[in-house]
C-alpha cells in the first residue's frame, strides 16, 4: 500500500530541521529510519502532510566513547550491533539491539526513532531505563536533557515536545563490579517483545549495592521495577535472592492482554524474564 501524499524536506543541519518543524507545526513528522513511521503511513494509520527526513544530518549519527557513551539519535541498530567497544561497555544494549526485528530492520531503524516512537513493545526503552540513559533533545527553546525515568509517559507518548528533536543518548560505561543484561520473549513473527527485561546491577563487597530494571512489552509503556530492585539491594545476589526479588516483578504496573498473550501470561513471563536478566547481569558483575 502507498502512503497518502506529503511534501518532503531533507535538511542538512539540526537548525534547519527545527525551523522546518516550527514552520509546519502539527502537519510535520520527522523521518529517521522510517521503520515505524513508514509502515504506519502505508496502512494510513498516519498521514503527515510534511516529512522532514533527518538522514542528511551527519552530526546526528555515530557513537563516541570516552568518559561515557554518547550515541547519536540517527545511529542505526546495525551500527550499534557491530560496535565491539560499545558491546563491552554496555552489554545490555548490544544484547537487546541484536534481537530487534531482523537485519533489514536493523540496517534502517535508529535508536532516536525508537525512543521517540515509544512503542510499548520496543526493546530500547527498557534498556534506557536500566542504564539510566540521559536523552538529549533540542528545540526552539534550546537544548535540554531528559532522564529515561521521565521520558516515557504513556503508550506511544513521551516527554518530547512536538517541535523538539532527539539529538543523542548518553549512557554510563560499566565499571568493575557492574553488570547488565537483556532478556527477551520475542513475538515469533514481528520479533517485538512480548516481554523484554533489561537489568543493571552493581556489587560492592559481595552485596548488591545498586540495581535498576526496565520492563517493556508487558504494559502500555516501559517501566522500572522498583519493588524488585529494593528487594535485591543489600542481598548477596544469589539464585535464591534473585528468585525472591523477581517474585515482585509486575507488581506496580498495568499489564496488557491481547491475542498474542493474555494479561496473566504476560505477568507470569515478566517474573520469569526479570529473573533471567538479573541472573545474567549478576554473573557478569562478579
Amino acid at each position: 500500500m502507498i502512503p497518502s501524499a506529503f511534501s518532503y524536506h531533507a535538511p542538512t543541519s539540526v537548525a534547519e530541521a527545527l525551523s522546518l518543524l516550527q514552520q509546519h507545526g502539527d502537519e510535520a513528522k520527522i523521518l529517521a529510519g522510517g521503520h515505524s513511521l513508514l509502515p504506519a503511513m502505508k496502512l494510513r494509520l498516519a498521514s503527515p502532510g510534511v516529512l522532514i527526513d533527518i538522514n542528511q544530518i551527519a552530526e546526528l549519527r555515530g557513537v563516541v566513547i570516552n568518559g561515557n557513551v554518547n550515541i547519536g539519535a540517527l545511529t542505526t541498530w546495525s551500527a550499534i550491533e557491530t560496535d565491539g567497544e560499545l558491546a563491552s561497555v554496555c552489554p545490555a544494549l548490544a544484547e537487546a539491539v541484536a534481537l530487534i526485528g531482523d537485519i533489514q530492520v536493523r540496517n534502517r531503524g535508529t535508536i532516536g526513532g525508537s525512543l521517540a516512537h515509544a512503542d510499548p513493545a520496543a526493546d530500547a526503552p527498557a534498556v534506557m531505563l536500566a542504564l539510566n540513559a540521559q536523552i538529549r533533545v533540542t528545540g526552539p527553546g534550546g537544548t535540554r536533557t531528559i532522564a529515561a525515568d521521565d521520558f516515557f509517559t504513556d503508550m506511544l507518548s513521551t516527554a518530547l515536545e512536538p517541535d523538539e528533536l532527539i539529538t543523542s543518548i548518553t549512557l554510563n560505561k560499566l565499571g568493575a563490579g557492574e553488570g547488565s543484561a537483556y532478556s527477551k520473549f520475542a513475538h515469533p513473527a514481528s520479533r517485538y517483545a512480548i516481554v523484554g527485561v533489561a537489568a543493571y546491577v552493581k556489587l560492592s563487597g559481595g552485596k548488591v549495592s545498586a540495581c535498576r530494571i526496565g520492563v517493556t512489552g508487558a504494559g502500555p509503556k516501559a517501566v522500572r521495577q522498583t519493588a524488585v530492585e529494593q528487594a535485591l539491594i543489600g542481598s548477596d545476589g544469589s539464585a535464591e535472592a534473585i528468585a525472591a526479588a523477581a517474585a515482585h516483578a509486575g507488581e506496580e504496573m498495568d499489564i496488557l492482554g491481547d491475542i498474542h498473550a493474555s494479561e496473566g501470561y504476560r505477568r507470569a513471563m515478566t517474573k520469569v524474564y526479570v529473573k533471567r536478566a538479573l541472573t545474567s547481569a549478576v554473573a557478569r558483575a562478579r
Binding site: M1, I2, P3, S4, A5, F6, S7, Y8, A10, L31, G34, H35, L38, P39, M41, K42, L43, L51, D53, N55, S78, G101, D102, I103, Q104, V105, N107, R108, A189, S190, R191
Partner: protein
Amino acid sequence: MATITVTVNGKPHTNDVEPRTLLVHYLREQLNLTGTHIGCDTSQCGACVVHLNGQSVKSCTVLAIQCHGAEVTTIEGLAPQGQMHALQEGFWEKHGLQCGFCTPGMIMAAADLLERNPNPTDDEIRHGLEGNLCRCTGYENIVRAVRYAAEKMAVPAGD
C-alpha cells in the same frame, strides 16, 4: 514531483517520482524491474529485499526519493546477464524454492549475509534470514542452498 538519479544494477537512472513513491514501486513500475516482489503491507515478509549502498533493506519501507545519489542492487543485477550467482545456483541445486515468490528477497538477504559472514553455521543462516518469510519450503532447503553457495564461494576462482 522530484527528480532523482539512482544507480540501479550499475546503471544510472534519472526519473521523476512523487515523494510518497516507495523504492519497491519505483523499481517495479518505473524501471520495470519486477524481480523484486511485494508480499505484505507490514514490512515483515522480506520479498522486497534489495541492497542499498551495499546493505540489505526492505524496499517497501524506504522512499525512492531517499535513494537519490545511491546505489541499488536488485536480484536482476546480482550476477552478470546470462550467468548465475552462486546463491541462484544453490537455490536451483538444493531445491530452495517451490512457488518462488520469496526467492528474490531470500537471495538478496542471503547475499548480504554471506558478505558479512562468508562461512555461516546453519543457525547463523536461519538467524540471518529472519526477515524473510517463505510459505512453501519449510526453510530446510533454503538453508542448504545458502550453505551450498557459501561453500562454492569459498573455493578460489580458477580452481
